[in-house]
Symmetry: C3
Subunit: 155 residues, 3 copies
């Protein structure tokens, strides 16, 4: 499966922008009907430990999670800013493209300080559905295990 690079760039640009804008319904629309969303620290991934910080193995669970985040977010008011590097296709598997992209997320607290929140690598499976690219699997490999326990917005 060979993806149009420009369509891929647009998908990742929208992915980060929709989180930062708080448009979570549109963000969910970037996922396939059957999808998963994982956040895992690098330590666990390198040791083959399955435990992740966030594990949503269906779209229903991901939608629930987003609803919960919106509630939690009322008590952790901040804004996100995603910078996603150029994605690249590294292989394919069963009709899905394996795509990787580095990212950094910056957060700004109510007091006005902007700071680095997290860096990592997206390791995703992407499918084309009726001409549009969608995430079948979103795997967020975090560079650190030491993220604040309250992940109030998706990464």
């Amino acid at each position: 499966m060979s993806l149009d690079p420009l369509a891929l760039y647009d998908l990742y640009a929208r992915y980060g922008a929709l989180i930062d804008a708080g448009e979570f319904d549109a963000w969910l629309g970037l996922f396939a009907a059957e999808c998963s969303y994982h956040i895992m620290p690098r330590e666990n991934w390198e040791r083959g430990l399955p435990a992740g910080l966030v594990y949503c193995d269906s779209r229903a669970v991901l939608e629930d999670r987003i609803r919960a985040l919106r509630e939690a977010n009322k008590y952790n008011i901040h804004t996100d800013r995603h910078l996603v590097g150029l994605p690249r296709t590294v292989g394919d598997d069963n009709g899905a493209a394996l795509v990787e992209a580095p990212f950094a997320v910056f957060q700004t607290e109510k007091e006005g300080e902007s700071r680095l929140f997290a860096t990592g690598l997206y390791k995703d499976r992407i499918v084309a559905m009726t001409g549009e690219l969608r995430f079948r699997e979103k795997f967020v490999l975090l560079d650190t295990f030491a993220v604040p326990s309250l992940l109030a917005t998706p990464l």
Copy 2:
């Protein structure tokens, strides 16, 4: 109005690179003859308050501002490094394309420390003039109101 994505990417790459290189005349050349340049903190924008940190509503005012910045810069010696995320077209209006791109600016002081200076979102209007893309409106939405008062270089 539909823009060539690669021309758009090139415009944003040049926008950041020319500031970082201190090539402000070439940077001004990225703006249309009729143009505006605003910097506004997110708080004001979300509340509909018009007050911005920088407000240039014509090219003459923007050119003046750049001249003033160059003077101020003599007393605030630093270097900038812009990282601009992938821009995406989100709509169009009256022959202009509405384009958004996230950014982070890092500054390095004379003592040699590099640090995060600001993050935000460009929300721009872009027109095609004789085959070249130009900024009709540059709107810099800053994630924080707490930037140092002396903005010695454009964002």
Copy 3:
């Protein structure tokens, strides 16, 4: 010499990703058989001083350096995350394209803290070899002279 922008984007995406993944043999494969790799702080570059932090003027020297880094890395365990901005071609010289791209490198220490490590500008010469783009010269212009003396991985 006119490069395909998408091939150029892919080259820079791979450049950063292969360092972050520790795949240094594949990373070396992005360089031409005759190549150089320099890291120079901005101060020296602006004053025309030739002294750099790293100076490899042949592929053999670069390969040696990478071997040494791998040894040193055992005592400075960290992970890198490169964010490379959109590259742009700024000229050409003797069959090589002159290409620039801004970058930020974040590091995560064993204790789990992710932080900004360095920012700068790649100023490279790129050639096309049997259909593939390769670095003839990689010039890493660092925004600061104050990087830790132990550069345990390439920038």
